[in-house]
Amino acid sequence: MNIRRFTLIFTPYFWLIALFLIPFIIVFKISLSDPALAIPPYTPNFDLSGGWSAIGTFFSQLDFENYEFLLTDDLYWKSYLTSIKIAFFSTVFTLIVAFPIAYGIAKAPLHLRPMLMMLIILPFWTSFLIRVYSWIGILANEGILNNFLLWIGIIDQPLRLINTNIAVYIGIVYTYLPFMILPIYANLEKMDSSLIEAAEDLGCSRIGAFWSITLPMAKSGIVAGCMLVFIPAIGEFVIPSLLGGSSTNMIGKVLWGEFFSNRDWPVASSVAVVLLAILMIPIILFQRHQQKENMNE
């Protein structure tokens, strides 16, 4: 291997090892440490000057206490469950909202499609924080939505929307919608519409043709879209902290609180390790799915 090739491969490789892999090893190590009133606020610290015996004591002081704590204190395991639940249902809602839009664009006249797709992608380029923020004014107790509903007379008193799980669902569906529409549209667009015409000619009903042809053809796009929403939604911090209430304990928010408010770094680290372990399953499934898709093309 010549020197140029070596540089080409190993510059980005070492960068990722130094700033992606090693940080995780540090997180794992701190998750096995004990909190302490010191700077940095955990013990033991690695001290190479002490020689082999110091390294020995260092390892003997590491334990799984923080993980036991996560299991016994119901704040944590409930937060994991809440995160998975919210991520799951918002994925379903996003799919329900996204599919008709993707389908509509795929069926739109050819010359309109690039423009419609640009309109889907445009919000993705604008700030995520601002898109979440835009819902605060709408969902507030004296916000635009409540005022509107009161004005047309559907409700007598304002609905409590902001700082509830409903607001979190709306926030996730709104901000992650492009991630769901893009892969589904990519699949639907490739679909040969003569297949549906053939099915209809052969006596299939419209809905029957949809279930037996359109949906299976869009399956890999649906799977990819669901993964792209579900995986990041579990660890979401911004949406639950701005739109959710004090009872919306999603794990990203708990981790943030442990670190910044409680200053308990070992617990924050073990929360991160467990979260990563939970995410490993969908991440690996997603990567397999993507590789299979690439092979098919």
Binding site: L16, L19, P23, V97, K107, G137, I138, A140, L255, L275
Partner: protein
């Protein structure tokens, strides 16, 4: 079927879908011109919040920090991401390739709280003072993976024989890359840079973990002021940001459309 006009069902779902996507932002823009501080009451047209925004030293300072971090991190991430993409697409076998491609893929789906926490603990372990440098390092690390994905999809689709021809004709690998590969993948490299820049401008969580007290970025500043509720100044700032992005995306799409047309007409001429 393609050229048939839309059915009522498709039209309705498109109209509702786009209303859902754009109404919240439209409301945000309208209320940035409201002279009342309350979001619920319309008290007449005014641009005073824009004036207040530009006089707010803290916002201007934060915007400057954000642009600096965005520029430097996007540039470095584009170089590293393009290198990574080229290495992974062109070299099928080397030691640790699986780990490498795994590390390129993982940050794309990693929750930001984990990335932020782990980088902060690294910076503390090596005793690096938190500030603009640490935010930039953190942003390079996750954006380079996005750049690499964008660039490698372009690299896999282009004709490898062009590069081989250049090598056969006596080009060094570096020259072949510079004069054959780079011009072809340039649109992907450019959109990779834009993506990295946008991701950096947008990031709240990782920046909050890796920023020091003197290096507040715009998202950190926005977040701390909207935690207290809706503020018309933030509406004004959002309107400016939405405006810039809209102009930018529309210009970029017109330019790319023209370059595609130019490419097509050249191809037709070459065939004649």
């Amino acid at each position: 079927m393609n050229n048939r006009s839309l059915s009522w069902f498709n039209t309705t779902s498109l109209v509702l879908g786009f209303a859902f996507l754009y109404l919240p932002m439209l409301i945000l823009i309208i209320y940035s011109f409201n002279s009342s501080k309350l979001v619920t009451v319309w008290a007449g047209f005014s641009t005073k919040w824009y004036g207040e925004l530009f006089q707010d030293e803290q916002f201007m300072q934060a915007a400057w920090v954000t642009l600096k971090v965005g520029f430097f991190s996007a540039t470095a991430a584009t170089v590293l991401g393009t290198m990574a993409a080229y290495a992974l697409v062109r070299t099928k076998k080397f030691t640790g390739r699986a780990l490498f491609s795994g590390m390129i893929f993982a940050p794309l789906v990693m929750p930001e709280v984990i990335t932020g926490l782990s980088l902060l603990l690294l910076f503390i372990a090596i005793d690096l003072d938190r500030g603009i440098l640490t935010i930039t390092l953190a942003h390079i690390t996750f954006s380079m993976c996005f750049v690499s994905v964008v660039v490698s999809s372009r690299l896999t689709s282009f004709d490898k024989s062009l590069e081989e021809a250049a090598l056969d004709l006596g080009c060094t690998p570096f020259d072949a890359f510079k004069s054959v590969v780079l011009p072809i993948i340039m649109p992907a490299v450019a959109s990779g840079w834009l993506l990295a820049f946008t991701l950096s401008l947008d990031d709240l969580v990782i920046a909050s973990f890796t920023a020091g007290p003197s290096s507040t970025t715009l998202p950190i500043k926005i977040y701390s002021s909207i935690r207290l509720g809706v503020s018309p100044q933030i509406n004004a700032l959002s309107t400016i940001m939405i405006g810039i992005v809209t102009v930018f995306v529309i210009t970029a799409s017109i330019i790319s459309k023209q370059s595609i047309k130019k490419y097509e007409s050249e191809k037709i001429r070459a065939n004649l």
